[in-house]
Protein backbone atom coordinates (compact mmCIF):
# COMPACT_ATOMS: atom_id res chain seq x y z
CA UNK A 1 0.00 0.00 0.00
CA UNK A 2 2.84 2.30 0.85
CA UNK A 3 4.28 1.80 -2.62
CA UNK A 4 0.98 2.47 -4.33
CA UNK A 5 0.81 5.72 -2.42
CA UNK A 6 4.33 6.67 -3.47
CA UNK A 7 3.66 5.94 -7.11
CA UNK A 8 0.34 7.82 -7.13
CA UNK A 9 1.97 10.87 -5.54
CA UNK A 10 4.79 10.59 -8.09
CA UNK A 11 2.28 10.54 -10.94
CA UNK A 12 0.58 13.65 -9.61
CA UNK A 13 3.91 15.53 -9.31
CA UNK A 14 4.60 14.38 -12.84
CA UNK A 15 1.67 16.53 -13.96
CA UNK A 16 3.57 19.61 -12.79
CA UNK A 17 6.71 18.52 -14.63
CA UNK A 18 4.63 17.95 -17.72
CA UNK A 19 3.35 21.52 -17.43
CA UNK A 20 6.95 22.76 -17.21
CA UNK A 21 7.75 20.75 -20.31
CA UNK A 22 4.77 21.45 -22.57
CA UNK A 23 5.60 25.09 -23.23
CA UNK A 24 9.19 24.13 -23.98
CA UNK A 25 8.08 21.39 -26.33
CA UNK A 26 5.63 23.70 -28.10
CA UNK A 27 8.28 26.32 -28.84
CA UNK A 28 10.83 23.80 -29.96
CA UNK A 29 8.28 22.11 -32.19
CA UNK A 30 7.12 25.27 -33.94
CA UNK A 31 10.37 27.21 -34.37
CA UNK A 32 13.24 24.89 -33.33
CA UNK A 33 14.10 27.32 -30.54
CA UNK A 34 15.54 25.91 -27.33
CA UNK A 35 14.40 28.35 -24.71
CA UNK A 36 16.99 28.33 -21.91
CA UNK A 37 14.98 31.02 -20.09
CA UNK A 38 11.90 28.79 -19.91
CA UNK A 39 12.38 27.88 -16.24
CA UNK A 40 12.99 31.50 -15.29
CA UNK A 41 9.86 32.53 -17.15
CA UNK A 42 7.93 30.03 -15.01
CA UNK A 43 9.34 31.63 -11.85
CA UNK A 44 8.73 35.12 -13.24
CA UNK A 45 5.09 34.13 -13.80
CA UNK A 46 4.91 33.01 -10.17
CA UNK A 47 6.23 36.41 -9.06
CA UNK A 48 3.77 38.13 -11.38
CA UNK A 49 0.96 36.22 -9.67
CA UNK A 50 2.46 37.13 -6.30
CA UNK A 51 2.42 40.82 -7.24
CA UNK A 52 -1.14 40.66 -8.56
CA UNK A 53 -2.27 38.98 -5.34
CA UNK A 54 -0.47 41.60 -3.21
CA UNK A 55 -2.19 44.38 -5.12
CA UNK A 56 -5.69 42.94 -5.43
CA UNK A 57 -6.02 40.31 -2.73
CA UNK A 58 -7.29 37.78 -5.28
CA UNK A 59 -7.07 34.05 -4.64
CA UNK A 60 -4.01 32.58 -6.46
CA UNK A 61 -6.20 30.60 -8.85
CA UNK A 62 -8.36 33.66 -9.54
CA UNK A 63 -5.21 35.68 -10.19
CA UNK A 64 -4.77 33.61 -13.35
CA UNK A 65 -7.44 35.79 -14.94
CA UNK A 66 -4.92 38.62 -14.88
CA UNK A 67 -1.69 36.62 -15.09
CA UNK A 68 -2.57 34.58 -18.18
CA UNK A 69 -3.30 37.48 -20.55
CA UNK A 70 -0.32 39.47 -19.27
CA UNK A 71 1.99 36.50 -19.79
CA UNK A 72 0.62 35.87 -23.27
CA UNK A 73 1.11 39.52 -24.16
CA UNK A 74 4.65 39.43 -22.79
CA UNK A 75 5.44 36.30 -24.82
CA UNK A 76 4.06 37.87 -27.99
CA UNK A 77 6.14 41.00 -27.50
CA UNK A 78 9.26 39.09 -26.51
CA UNK A 79 9.10 37.02 -29.67
CA UNK A 80 8.53 39.98 -31.97
CA UNK A 81 11.07 42.27 -30.34
CA UNK A 82 13.86 39.85 -29.45
CA UNK A 83 13.63 36.16 -30.29
CA UNK A 84 12.58 36.50 -33.95
CA UNK A 85 15.87 38.26 -34.60
CA UNK A 86 17.81 35.22 -33.40
CA UNK A 87 16.13 32.68 -35.70
CA UNK A 88 17.50 31.66 -39.13
CA UNK A 89 21.03 32.33 -37.94
CA UNK A 90 22.03 28.87 -36.80
CA UNK A 91 21.52 27.14 -33.47
CA UNK A 92 23.82 29.28 -31.35
CA UNK A 93 22.16 32.74 -31.33
CA UNK A 94 18.84 31.55 -29.82
CA UNK A 95 20.71 29.61 -27.14
CA UNK A 96 22.91 32.58 -26.23
CA UNK A 97 20.09 35.08 -26.24
CA UNK A 98 17.75 32.96 -24.12
CA UNK A 99 20.63 32.17 -21.77
CA UNK A 100 21.21 35.91 -21.38
CA UNK A 101 17.50 36.39 -20.86
CA UNK A 102 17.62 33.79 -18.10
CA UNK A 103 20.33 35.75 -16.25
CA UNK A 104 18.48 39.02 -16.74
CA UNK A 105 15.22 37.59 -15.37
CA UNK A 106 16.92 36.05 -12.33
CA UNK A 107 18.67 39.27 -11.41
CA UNK A 108 15.62 41.40 -12.10
CA UNK A 109 13.62 39.19 -9.72
CA UNK A 110 16.42 39.35 -7.15
CA UNK A 111 16.55 43.17 -7.32
CA UNK A 112 12.79 43.53 -7.17
CA UNK A 113 11.71 40.83 -4.74
CA UNK A 114 14.95 40.03 -2.79
CA UNK A 115 16.28 36.52 -2.31
CA UNK A 116 13.62 35.59 0.28
CA UNK A 117 11.59 32.63 -0.77
CA UNK A 118 7.86 33.27 -1.24
CA UNK A 119 4.77 31.22 -1.50
CA UNK A 120 1.28 31.86 -2.80
CA UNK A 121 -1.25 31.30 -0.05
CA UNK A 122 -4.19 29.43 -1.50
CA UNK A 123 -5.97 28.86 1.82
CA UNK A 124 -7.53 25.60 2.88
CA UNK A 125 -7.23 23.87 -0.48
CA UNK A 126 -3.45 23.74 -0.05
CA UNK A 127 -3.50 21.06 2.60
CA UNK A 128 -6.88 19.45 2.11
CA UNK A 129 -7.15 16.01 0.64
CA UNK A 130 -9.51 13.10 0.34
CA UNK A 131 -8.84 9.50 1.09
CA UNK A 132 -9.06 7.12 -1.84
CA UNK A 133 -8.40 4.11 0.36
CA UNK A 134 -6.63 3.59 3.64
CA UNK A 135 -3.06 4.84 3.30
CA UNK A 136 -3.76 6.60 0.00
CA UNK A 137 -4.71 10.26 0.38
CA UNK A 138 -5.01 12.48 -2.66
CA UNK A 139 -4.31 16.21 -2.17
CA UNK A 140 -6.59 18.57 -4.05
CA UNK A 141 -3.74 20.75 -5.31
CA UNK A 142 -1.70 17.87 -6.78
CA UNK A 143 -4.88 16.49 -8.32
CA UNK A 144 -5.78 19.88 -9.76
CA UNK A 145 -2.24 20.19 -11.13
CA UNK A 146 -2.46 16.84 -12.85
CA UNK A 147 -5.90 17.65 -14.23
CA UNK A 148 -4.52 20.94 -15.57
CA UNK A 149 -1.66 19.10 -17.25
CA UNK A 150 -4.06 16.69 -18.95
CA UNK A 151 -6.35 19.56 -19.95
CA UNK A 152 -3.44 21.62 -21.33
CA UNK A 153 -2.05 18.73 -23.36
CA UNK A 154 -5.49 17.82 -24.67
CA UNK A 155 -6.25 21.45 -25.48
CA UNK A 156 -2.97 22.00 -27.33
CA UNK A 157 -3.37 18.74 -29.20
CA UNK A 158 -6.86 19.79 -30.27
CA UNK A 159 -5.66 23.24 -31.27
CA UNK A 160 -2.77 21.81 -33.27
CA UNK A 161 -4.88 19.43 -35.31
CA UNK A 162 -8.28 21.11 -35.50
CA UNK A 163 -7.82 24.85 -35.77
CA UNK A 164 -6.46 27.30 -38.34
CA UNK A 165 -3.93 28.49 -35.75
CA UNK A 166 -2.70 24.93 -35.25
CA UNK A 167 -2.42 24.46 -38.99
CA UNK A 168 -0.36 27.61 -39.22
CA UNK A 169 1.97 26.25 -36.48
CA UNK A 170 2.38 22.96 -38.29
CA UNK A 171 2.88 24.58 -41.68
CA UNK A 172 5.56 26.96 -40.39
CA UNK A 173 7.23 24.13 -38.52
CA UNK A 174 7.17 21.87 -41.59
CA UNK A 175 8.54 24.36 -44.12
CA UNK A 176 9.09 27.98 -43.07
CA UNK A 177 9.77 29.11 -46.63
CA UNK A 178 6.73 27.61 -48.30
CA UNK A 179 4.44 28.70 -45.47
CA UNK A 180 5.24 32.32 -46.33
CA UNK A 181 4.27 31.67 -49.92
CA UNK A 182 0.94 30.44 -48.55
CA UNK A 183 0.36 33.84 -47.00
CA UNK A 184 1.61 33.12 -43.49
CA UNK A 185 3.71 35.74 -41.77
CA UNK A 186 6.12 33.48 -39.90
CA UNK A 187 7.07 36.16 -37.41
CA UNK A 188 3.55 36.62 -36.11
CA UNK A 189 2.96 32.85 -36.15
CA UNK A 190 6.06 32.45 -33.97
CA UNK A 191 4.82 35.23 -31.72
CA UNK A 192 1.45 33.51 -31.33
CA UNK A 193 3.22 30.25 -30.44
CA UNK A 194 5.32 32.04 -27.83
CA UNK A 195 2.21 33.69 -26.39
CA UNK A 196 0.57 30.28 -26.11
CA UNK A 197 3.70 28.84 -24.53
CA UNK A 198 3.66 31.66 -21.98
CA UNK A 199 0.05 30.83 -21.08
CA UNK A 200 1.17 27.31 -20.19
CA UNK A 201 4.19 28.77 -18.38
CA UNK A 202 1.90 30.97 -16.29
CA UNK A 203 -0.35 28.04 -15.34
CA UNK A 204 2.74 26.05 -14.36
CA UNK A 205 4.19 28.99 -12.43
CA UNK A 206 1.07 29.60 -10.35
CA UNK A 207 0.54 25.91 -9.56
CA UNK A 208 4.20 25.57 -8.61
CA UNK A 209 3.95 28.59 -6.34
CA UNK A 210 0.88 27.22 -4.56
CA UNK A 211 2.59 23.91 -4.03
CA UNK A 212 6.04 24.97 -2.89
CA UNK A 213 8.24 27.91 -2.00
CA UNK A 214 9.92 29.75 -4.82
CA UNK A 215 12.85 32.13 -5.09
CA UNK A 216 14.52 33.98 -8.00
CA UNK A 217 17.03 31.23 -8.71
CA UNK A 218 14.73 28.26 -9.03
CA UNK A 219 14.27 28.58 -12.79
CA UNK A 220 17.17 26.50 -14.13
CA UNK A 221 16.12 23.53 -11.97
CA UNK A 222 12.59 23.65 -13.42
CA UNK A 223 14.13 23.92 -16.89
CA UNK A 224 16.03 20.66 -16.33
CA UNK A 225 12.85 18.85 -15.26
CA UNK A 226 11.11 20.23 -18.30
CA UNK A 227 13.89 19.13 -20.67
CA UNK A 228 13.99 15.68 -19.14
CA UNK A 229 10.24 15.22 -19.45
CA UNK A 230 10.32 16.32 -23.11
CA UNK A 231 13.20 14.03 -23.99
CA UNK A 232 11.87 11.01 -22.09
CA UNK A 233 8.54 11.38 -23.84
CA UNK A 234 10.00 11.96 -27.29
CA UNK A 235 10.24 15.26 -29.14
CA UNK A 236 7.14 16.62 -30.77
CA UNK A 237 4.65 14.40 -28.95
CA UNK A 238 2.70 16.26 -26.28
CA UNK A 239 1.08 13.16 -24.78
CA UNK A 240 4.57 11.68 -24.65
CA UNK A 241 5.70 14.78 -22.76
CA UNK A 242 2.96 14.16 -20.20
CA UNK A 243 4.14 10.56 -19.88
CA UNK A 244 7.72 11.80 -19.56
CA UNK A 245 6.70 14.10 -16.70
CA UNK A 246 4.93 11.23 -14.96
CA UNK A 247 7.92 8.90 -15.33
CA UNK A 248 10.19 11.58 -13.92
CA UNK A 249 7.81 12.23 -11.01
CA UNK A 250 7.48 8.55 -10.15
CA UNK A 251 11.25 8.02 -10.37
CA UNK A 252 11.83 10.90 -7.96
CA UNK A 253 9.15 9.69 -5.56
CA UNK A 254 10.58 6.17 -5.53
CA UNK A 255 14.13 7.53 -5.15
CA UNK A 256 13.08 9.68 -2.21
CA UNK A 257 11.58 6.62 -0.56
CA UNK A 258 14.87 4.75 -0.77
CA UNK A 259 16.79 7.70 0.63
CA UNK A 260 15.68 11.36 0.77
CA UNK A 261 18.98 12.38 -0.82
CA UNK A 262 18.18 10.19 -3.79
CA UNK A 263 15.12 12.08 -4.94
CA UNK A 264 16.72 14.21 -7.67
CA UNK A 265 19.40 11.66 -8.43
CA UNK A 266 16.86 8.92 -9.14
CA UNK A 267 15.05 11.20 -11.61
CA UNK A 268 18.27 12.03 -13.45
CA UNK A 269 19.37 8.38 -13.50
CA UNK A 270 16.11 7.26 -15.05
CA UNK A 271 16.44 10.06 -17.59
CA UNK A 272 20.00 8.97 -18.45
CA UNK A 273 18.96 5.33 -18.77
CA UNK A 274 16.15 6.19 -21.16
CA UNK A 275 18.44 8.48 -23.12
CA UNK A 276 21.01 5.68 -23.40
CA UNK A 277 18.55 2.98 -24.39
CA UNK A 278 16.10 5.02 -26.47
CA UNK A 279 17.70 8.33 -27.52
CA UNK A 280 14.60 9.22 -29.53
CA UNK A 281 12.45 9.05 -26.39
CA UNK A 282 9.74 6.58 -25.50
CA UNK A 283 7.06 7.95 -27.79
CA UNK A 284 8.74 9.83 -30.62
CA UNK A 285 6.42 11.59 -32.99
CA UNK A 286 4.69 9.15 -35.26
CA UNK A 287 2.93 10.78 -38.11
CA UNK A 288 -0.27 12.42 -36.96
Amino acid sequence: MEWINIIVQGILVGGLYALFATGLSLIFGVMRLVNIAHGDLIIAAAYLAYTVIQLTGLHPLASLVVVLPLSALFGYGLQLAVLNRTLDKGILPPLLVTFGLSIIIQNFLLETFSADSRRLNAGAIEISSFSLMPGLDIGYVPLLTFACAVAVVWGLQYLFYHSPMGRSFRAVSDDPEVSQLMGLNNRTVYAAAMALSMVVVAIAGVLLAIRSNFDPFMGPGRLIFGFEAVIIGGLGNLWGTLAGGVILGVAQAVGAQIDPGWQLLAGHIVFLLILAVRPQGLFPKGVA
Binding site: P164, R167, S168, R170, A171, S173, D174, D175, E177, V178, S179, Q180, L181, M182, G183, L184, N185, N186, V287, A288
Partner: protein, 239 residues
Amino acid sequence: MSILVLDQLSKRYGALLVTDGISLSVDRGEIVGILGPNGAGKTTLFNLIAGTVKPNSGTITFDGRDITREGAAVRCRAGISRSFQVPQPFTGMTVFENVLVGATFGRDRAGASDFAMRALELSGLTRKANQLAGSLPLLDRKRLELARALATDPSLLLLDEIAGGLTDSECHELLEVLREVNAAGVTMVWIEHVVHALLSVAQRLVVVDFGRKIADGVPDAVMASREVKSVYLGDDVHV
Protein backbone atom coordinates in the same frame (compact mmCIF):
# COMPACT_ATOMS: atom_id res chain seq x y z
CA MET B 1 -2.95 46.86 -68.65
CA SER B 2 0.07 45.20 -67.01
CA ILE B 3 -0.42 43.16 -63.87
CA LEU B 4 3.30 42.60 -63.31
CA VAL B 5 6.16 44.91 -64.27
CA LEU B 6 9.82 44.10 -63.60
CA ASP B 7 12.15 47.03 -64.13
CA GLN B 8 15.91 46.49 -64.41
CA LEU B 9 15.80 43.69 -61.86
CA SER B 10 19.21 42.40 -60.75
CA LYS B 11 20.30 39.80 -58.23
CA ARG B 12 23.84 38.81 -57.49
CA TYR B 13 25.26 36.00 -55.34
CA GLY B 14 28.81 37.10 -54.64
CA ALA B 15 30.44 37.69 -58.01
CA LEU B 16 27.76 35.78 -59.86
CA LEU B 17 25.08 37.90 -61.47
CA VAL B 18 22.14 35.50 -61.68
CA THR B 19 19.62 38.09 -62.76
CA ASP B 20 21.10 40.83 -64.90
CA GLY B 21 18.87 43.85 -65.38
CA ILE B 22 15.75 41.99 -66.48
CA SER B 23 12.79 44.11 -67.50
CA LEU B 24 9.53 42.39 -68.27
CA SER B 25 5.91 43.31 -68.31
CA VAL B 26 3.05 40.83 -68.14
CA ASP B 27 -0.47 41.78 -69.17
CA ARG B 28 -3.53 40.78 -67.20
CA GLY B 29 -4.89 37.44 -68.38
CA GLU B 30 -1.79 36.61 -70.41
CA ILE B 31 0.11 33.30 -70.39
CA VAL B 32 3.82 33.98 -70.68
CA GLY B 33 6.26 31.11 -71.16
CA ILE B 34 9.84 31.35 -69.96
CA LEU B 35 12.56 29.30 -71.62
CA GLY B 36 16.25 29.10 -70.99
CA PRO B 37 19.07 26.62 -70.46
CA ASN B 38 19.76 25.17 -67.02
CA GLY B 39 21.30 27.75 -64.71
CA ALA B 40 20.00 30.66 -66.77
CA GLY B 41 18.33 32.20 -63.71
CA LYS B 42 14.71 31.28 -64.37
CA THR B 43 13.91 29.96 -60.92
CA THR B 44 15.73 32.88 -59.31
CA LEU B 45 13.46 35.15 -61.31
CA PHE B 46 10.48 33.39 -59.71
CA ASN B 47 12.02 33.68 -56.27
CA LEU B 48 12.40 37.40 -56.85
CA ILE B 49 8.79 37.80 -57.98
CA ALA B 50 7.37 35.63 -55.15
CA GLY B 51 9.50 37.47 -52.60
CA THR B 52 11.59 34.66 -51.11
CA VAL B 53 14.68 36.38 -52.49
CA LYS B 54 15.23 40.14 -52.50
CA PRO B 55 16.80 41.86 -55.53
CA ASN B 56 19.99 43.94 -55.30
CA SER B 57 18.50 46.54 -57.57
CA GLY B 58 15.47 47.20 -59.74
CA THR B 59 11.78 47.29 -58.90
CA ILE B 60 8.82 44.93 -59.03
CA THR B 61 5.38 46.40 -59.54
CA PHE B 62 2.30 44.24 -59.08
CA ASP B 63 -1.19 45.51 -59.78
CA GLY B 64 0.15 49.08 -59.91
CA ARG B 65 1.80 48.80 -56.51
CA ASP B 66 5.54 48.70 -55.81
CA ILE B 67 6.13 45.43 -53.93
CA THR B 68 9.94 45.33 -54.19
CA ARG B 69 10.32 45.57 -50.43
CA GLU B 70 7.32 43.47 -49.38
CA GLY B 71 7.76 39.98 -47.88
CA ALA B 72 6.52 36.76 -49.43
CA ALA B 73 3.44 36.57 -47.19
CA VAL B 74 2.24 40.03 -48.22
CA ARG B 75 2.79 39.24 -51.90
CA CYS B 76 0.86 36.00 -51.51
CA ARG B 77 -2.12 37.83 -50.06
CA ALA B 78 -1.82 40.45 -52.81
CA GLY B 79 -2.39 37.63 -55.34
CA ILE B 80 0.97 36.16 -56.35
CA SER B 81 1.28 32.40 -56.04
CA ARG B 82 3.90 29.93 -57.18
CA SER B 83 4.52 26.22 -57.55
CA PHE B 84 7.91 24.61 -57.07
CA GLN B 85 9.92 22.65 -59.59
CA VAL B 86 10.71 20.10 -56.89
CA PRO B 87 7.39 19.74 -55.05
CA GLN B 88 7.61 20.90 -51.45
CA PRO B 89 4.44 19.82 -49.66
CA PHE B 90 4.01 20.08 -45.90
CA THR B 91 4.81 16.40 -45.50
CA GLY B 92 3.30 16.01 -42.04
CA MET B 93 -0.13 17.19 -43.16
CA THR B 94 -2.85 15.63 -45.25
CA VAL B 95 -3.36 16.77 -48.83
CA PHE B 96 -6.49 18.66 -47.79
CA GLU B 97 -4.72 20.41 -44.92
CA ASN B 98 -1.88 21.42 -47.24
CA VAL B 99 -4.35 23.20 -49.46
CA LEU B 100 -6.34 24.51 -46.51
CA VAL B 101 -3.31 26.42 -45.22
CA GLY B 102 -3.21 28.48 -48.41
CA ALA B 103 -6.99 28.86 -48.49
CA THR B 104 -7.04 30.11 -44.89
CA PHE B 105 -4.06 32.42 -44.78
CA GLY B 106 -3.39 33.32 -48.42
CA ARG B 107 -6.77 34.93 -49.08
CA ASP B 108 -9.82 36.30 -47.38
CA ARG B 109 -10.41 33.35 -45.07
CA ALA B 110 -14.20 33.07 -45.51
CA GLY B 111 -15.26 29.64 -46.76
CA ALA B 112 -11.69 28.37 -46.63
CA SER B 113 -12.54 24.68 -46.65
CA ASP B 114 -14.95 24.95 -49.60
CA PHE B 115 -12.34 26.91 -51.48
CA ALA B 116 -9.69 24.32 -50.68
CA MET B 117 -11.99 21.53 -51.90
CA ARG B 118 -12.52 23.35 -55.20
CA ALA B 119 -8.77 23.72 -55.68
CA LEU B 120 -8.37 19.99 -55.04
CA GLU B 121 -11.15 19.16 -57.46
CA LEU B 122 -9.65 21.33 -60.18
CA SER B 123 -6.30 19.59 -59.71
CA GLY B 124 -7.85 16.12 -59.64
CA LEU B 125 -6.86 15.33 -56.06
CA THR B 126 -10.25 15.09 -54.38
CA ARG B 127 -9.98 11.35 -53.83
CA LYS B 128 -6.62 11.68 -52.11
CA ALA B 129 -7.66 14.56 -49.85
CA ASN B 130 -7.10 12.62 -46.65
CA GLN B 131 -3.78 11.03 -47.52
CA LEU B 132 -0.61 12.32 -45.98
CA ALA B 133 1.12 14.62 -48.46
CA GLY B 134 4.44 12.92 -47.72
CA SER B 135 3.10 9.63 -49.11
CA LEU B 136 2.09 10.96 -52.54
CA PRO B 137 3.86 9.86 -55.74
CA LEU B 138 5.48 12.48 -57.98
CA LEU B 139 2.53 13.19 -60.26
CA ASP B 140 0.22 13.78 -57.32
CA ARG B 141 2.81 15.97 -55.66
CA LYS B 142 2.87 18.11 -58.80
CA ARG B 143 -0.91 18.30 -58.69
CA LEU B 144 -0.70 19.27 -55.05
CA GLU B 145 1.72 22.07 -55.95
CA LEU B 146 -0.89 23.39 -58.35
CA ALA B 147 -3.79 22.91 -55.92
CA ARG B 148 -1.93 24.67 -53.17
CA ALA B 149 -0.98 27.55 -55.44
CA LEU B 150 -4.60 27.88 -56.59
CA ALA B 151 -5.91 27.77 -53.02
CA THR B 152 -4.47 31.19 -52.26
CA ASP B 153 -6.83 32.61 -54.93
CA PRO B 154 -4.04 34.09 -57.05
CA SER B 155 -4.37 36.63 -59.84
CA LEU B 156 -0.82 35.76 -60.95
CA LEU B 157 0.30 32.14 -61.00
CA LEU B 158 4.00 31.31 -61.32
CA LEU B 159 4.49 27.73 -62.52
CA ASP B 160 7.96 26.23 -62.22
CA GLU B 161 8.33 23.21 -64.54
CA ILE B 162 5.01 21.75 -63.60
CA ALA B 163 4.81 19.51 -66.70
CA GLY B 164 8.25 17.97 -66.24
CA GLY B 165 8.13 14.22 -65.69
CA LEU B 166 4.51 13.77 -66.76
CA THR B 167 3.37 11.34 -69.46
CA ASP B 168 1.70 12.76 -72.58
CA SER B 169 -1.83 12.04 -71.38
CA GLU B 170 -1.11 13.46 -67.93
CA CYS B 171 0.38 16.51 -69.55
CA HIS B 172 -2.70 16.89 -71.72
CA GLU B 173 -4.92 16.80 -68.63
CA LEU B 174 -2.76 19.39 -66.94
CA LEU B 175 -2.98 21.71 -69.95
CA GLU B 176 -6.77 21.48 -69.78
CA VAL B 177 -6.66 22.53 -66.13
CA LEU B 178 -4.32 25.40 -66.87
CA ARG B 179 -6.53 26.64 -69.71
CA GLU B 180 -9.51 26.51 -67.40
CA VAL B 181 -7.69 28.44 -64.69
CA ASN B 182 -6.55 31.01 -67.23
CA ALA B 183 -10.08 31.35 -68.59
CA ALA B 184 -11.16 32.22 -65.05
CA GLY B 185 -8.93 35.28 -65.29
CA VAL B 186 -5.66 34.09 -63.76
CA THR B 187 -2.50 35.42 -65.37
CA MET B 188 0.30 32.86 -65.71
CA VAL B 189 4.03 32.87 -66.04
CA TRP B 190 5.31 29.41 -66.79
CA ILE B 191 8.87 28.10 -66.81
CA GLU B 192 8.99 24.88 -68.78
CA HIS B 193 11.43 22.64 -70.60
CA VAL B 194 8.62 20.62 -72.16
CA VAL B 195 8.46 23.04 -75.08
CA HIS B 196 5.49 21.54 -76.92
CA ALA B 197 3.36 21.87 -73.77
CA LEU B 198 4.47 25.44 -73.28
CA LEU B 199 3.86 26.39 -76.91
CA SER B 200 0.34 24.99 -76.83
CA VAL B 201 -0.84 27.51 -74.25
CA ALA B 202 1.67 30.38 -74.11
CA GLN B 203 0.72 33.56 -75.92
CA ARG B 204 4.20 34.98 -75.51
CA LEU B 205 7.66 33.56 -74.95
CA VAL B 206 10.56 35.04 -73.04
CA VAL B 207 13.99 33.47 -73.28
CA VAL B 208 16.56 33.96 -70.53
CA ASP B 209 20.27 33.13 -70.66
CA PHE B 210 23.01 34.01 -68.17
CA GLY B 211 20.53 36.13 -66.21
CA ARG B 212 19.64 38.29 -69.21
CA LYS B 213 16.53 38.41 -71.31
CA ILE B 214 17.59 37.56 -74.86
CA ALA B 215 14.22 37.26 -76.55
CA ASP B 216 10.66 38.31 -75.90
CA GLY B 217 7.77 38.01 -78.30
CA VAL B 218 5.27 35.85 -80.16
CA PRO B 219 6.24 32.13 -79.71
CA ASP B 220 6.88 31.36 -83.37
CA ALA B 221 9.08 34.39 -83.88
CA VAL B 222 11.02 33.73 -80.70
CA MET B 223 11.60 30.08 -81.53
CA ALA B 224 12.87 31.11 -84.97
CA SER B 225 15.18 33.82 -83.70
CA ARG B 226 18.90 33.53 -84.11
CA GLU B 227 19.77 34.21 -80.44
CA VAL B 228 17.56 31.42 -79.21
CA LYS B 229 19.00 28.94 -81.67
CA SER B 230 22.54 29.87 -80.74
CA VAL B 231 21.77 29.43 -77.02
CA TYR B 232 20.30 25.99 -77.51
CA LEU B 233 22.31 24.69 -80.43
CA GLY B 234 25.62 26.57 -80.27
CA ASP B 235 27.03 29.67 -81.96
CA ASP B 236 28.20 28.16 -85.19
CA VAL B 237 24.89 26.74 -86.25
CA HIS B 238 23.78 28.09 -89.60
CA VAL B 239 20.14 27.62 -90.34
